[in-house]
């Protein structure tokens, strides 16, 4: 794509000996939409705050356009942030919130402070209101706006300063599903139109896949994988990524030779290679890549133990030799029936063993409740407080 704009080199962040970021290396290209994706506590927000200048890494360098900016304070960076809870100024109306950054005198080359003329401010604020679809809301107090409108004010307030980079910290987290989908498209459109680098933090994998040019999957302070959404989904690097992005069956396997992997003592054709002979590996099989066939034609044979209707498809759990798989299918196979399955070579993804091996990918404990818990946006607290009333 285009040239590199930001580089994090060996960035470590520790609070009181607790390492939050562990030697992060990350390159962000100009005008790209990059998403930091991971569960809460994985270090994604800390990474964002380091880029924004709100935190200085304990060690390592932050480079912007090749210049080290570790100790440059936030107000001197050409980077703006859309905060998680918007952080709109409650004492200012919509117009003044957006104009806040423009009203600050800028220091020119000779050290002279220059104020933007009022007409210029007005023109740019109006233009921004147009972009985020909030014409007519100028005089409104921000407290009178809905969540989605506040969100758009926050975006306008940041973008009006024409930053090189816009940082977004879970900006859609507080919105309902429908609005979230609309705002995803809206953000993508704005990013394309204004040609600004977006660094986006989220724990929602669907959001990350839908919006990004590059996805950075993080866990426990380390980057697990960097790649395009397709790469991340199709070629997960380890069991954590495979599990976090979409649904996955992760099975122990043995690489017999390039293109041949053994699962449950049966050999399968695959497209992966480059492993040692007889190396123990993790094998990822996506639930939608499994074809159900009559039992006698199957590469593997198992018993259906649960069926859940999901609208577009059925989620069925199938017991193969004691290991439970999730399979998504449009054909109903009743509970208790025996089925066979076939998997095409491109449906089998082989990964090196990692610290995450054996932690994910078995659907033995699968239930409705399990699904809710594994959905990162699901908040059990909410349900609890509902019970008390």
């Amino acid at each position: 794509m285009s040239k590199e704009l930001i580089r994090l080199a060996d960035c470590t962040m520790a609070f009181d000996d607790e390492v939050v970021l562990d030697k992060i290396n990350l390159s962000i290209k100009d005008k790209e939409f990059l998403t930091l994706l991971g569960p809460s506590g994985c270090g994604k927000t800390t990474t964002l705050r380091i880029i924004g200048g709100f935190q200085t890494p304990t060690s390592g360098d932050v480079l912007f356009d090749g210049v080290r900016i570790n100790s440059v304070p936030p107000h001197k960076r050409t980077i703006n942030t859309v905060f998680q809870k918007y952080a709109l100024f409650p004492h200012l109306n919509v117009y003044e919130n957006i104009a806040f950054g423009l009203r600050i005198p800028k220091v020119e080359a000779k050290g002279v402070k220059v104020k933007l003329p009022e007409e210029e401010i007005d023109r740019r604020v109006t233009e921004m209101l147009e972009v985020v679809n909030l014409r007519g809301f100028e005089k409104r107090r921000t407290t009178q706006l809905s969540g989605g409108q506040q969100q758009r004010v926050a975006i306008a307030r940041a973008l009006v300063n024409r930053p090189k980079v816009l940082l977004l910290d879970e900006p859609l987290g507080a919105l309902d599903l429908k609005l979230r989908k609309d705002m995803q498209n809206e953000l993508k459109r704005i990013q394309k139109a204004m040609e600004i680098t977006f660094v986006y933090v989220t724990h929602d994998q669907e959001e990350a896949l839908a919006m990004s040019d590059t996805v950075v999957v993080m866990d426990s302070g380390r980057i697990q994988q960097i790649g395009s959404p397709e790469d991340i989904y199709n070629e997960p690097k380890n069991a954590f990524v495979a599990d976090f992005i979409g649904e996955s069956n992760i099975i122990d396997g043995i690489m017999r030779s390039d293109g041949v992997v053994e699962i449950f003592n049966r050999r399968f054709q695959c497209l992966d290679g480059g492993f040692e002979q007889d190396e123990a590996v993790d094998v990822v099989i996506r639930p939608e890549d499994v074809d159900i066939v009559p039992e006698d034609q199957g590469q593997l044979k198992g018993t259906v133990t649960s069926v859940t209707f999901k609208g577009m498809q059925y989620d069925i759990i199938v017991d193969f030799y004691g290991f439970k798989w999730l399979i998504q299918t449009t054909d109903l196979s009743p509970v208790g029936s025996r089925i066979g399955i076939k998997i095409d070579p491109d449906g089998i993804h082989v990964m090196k063993k990692s610290e995450y091996s054996g932690m994910f990918g078995d659907y033995s404990s699968y239930s409705e409740e399990y699904e809710e818990i594994s959905d990162a946006s699901y908040d059990p607290e909410e349900e609890d407080s509902g019970d008390e009333e």
Binding site: H75, P90, H91, L92, F100, G101, I104, N161
Partner: protein, 278 residues
């Protein structure tokens, strides 16, 4: 739920009616009547005589309020930015004097400020008095002593509301301002100050109102020369110049002026907010 709970307000409403509204009504009746309870405006006609006391009261109260604000705001700001342990300690130290009797505190100041009091003795010891060629530095009986007494007694009422507003300020607002290019001075001027204005207004009210009507401080530290409205009113009810009807009239005029001040100030406060908005 709400309706059931609202019954708990009944004792308070009753108390307010009995102990606030009715006394004010009695005061109004007294103010507009003679000793024989005949309707009259005479009590107000005499008000001009006390113009100097009114002026002094408001002048000293305004000075004391400003001094409290000038000391209180930075202290509150600083406290709010320290760690929670320090905040608790500072809060305890600020509240500590208030556990002592008000008169006792004021008497202590008398013995400090007297002509042969602690402070003058200290000045003597370090040779300051000899250097200036005076017996003592007059402190007690001056307007300054009265202001000092009021500042000392009422400062916590300025610090507490300002502190509680600043400490609750959303940190992400300050980060947002910095993110948008504001340096620390601008963050303070454009975000912290306007958002802490409600605390300032209630602090100013809580210091100004008791300052205007203060009486013991002005008598004890003012040495009888700095008589204020509180003292004047007290004299009408308890002193030699017994005339409750005049006392009520003075109280009423004072109350009206104070209320006017508050209205103007709150308006000014809103105006300030508007000015920031425009």
């Amino acid at each position: 739920m709400k309706n059931k709970l609202s019954w708990f307000a009944v004792p308070y409403v009753g108390w307010m009616a009995l102990m606030v509204v009715i006394p004010i009504l009695i005061m109004v009746v007294y103010a507009f009547t003679t000793a024989e309870f005949q309707g009259t405006l005479e009590n107000f006609a005499e008000m001009g005589t006390y113009a100097s006391v009114f002026l002094r009261s408001f002048r000293l109260a305004i000075i004391a309020t400003l001094v409290c604000l000038l000391i209180g705001y930075p202290v509150s700001y600083w406290m709010a930015h320290e760690g929670p342990g320090f905040q608790r300690l500072a809060m305890a130290l600020i509240m500590l004097p208030m556990w002592m009797n008000f008169l006792l505190r004021t008497y202590s100041w008398m013995s400090i400020l007297e002509n042969n009091g602690l402070l003058n003795q200290f000045f003597k010891t370090i040779g300051l008095l000899d250097a200036l060629g005076v017996e003592y530095i007059p402190m007690i009986g001056t307007p300054g002593a009265v202001v000092l007494g009021m500042v000392y007694n009422y400062l916590p009422f300025m610090i507490l509301p300002i502190y509680s507003v600043i400490v609750k300020l959303d940190g992400s607002l300050l980060e947002a301002a910095r993110d948008l290019g504001a340096d620390s001075r601008r963050v303070f001027r454009k975000v912290i100050l306007p958002l802490s204005l409600p605390g300032v207004l209630s602090g100013v009210t809580m210091v100004f109102v008791p300052s205007v009507s203060t009486f013991a401080i002005s008598r004890l530290l003012g040495g009888g020369t700095q008589i204020m409205l509180g003292d004047l009113i007290e004299q009408q009810f308890l002193g030699g110049a017994y005339d409750p009807h005049l006392g009520a009239a003075i109280s009423m005029v004072m109350m009206v002026i104070v209320v006017l001040c508050m209205v103007v100030m709150n308006h000014f406060g809103e105006g300030e907010e508007q000015a920031v908005m425009l």
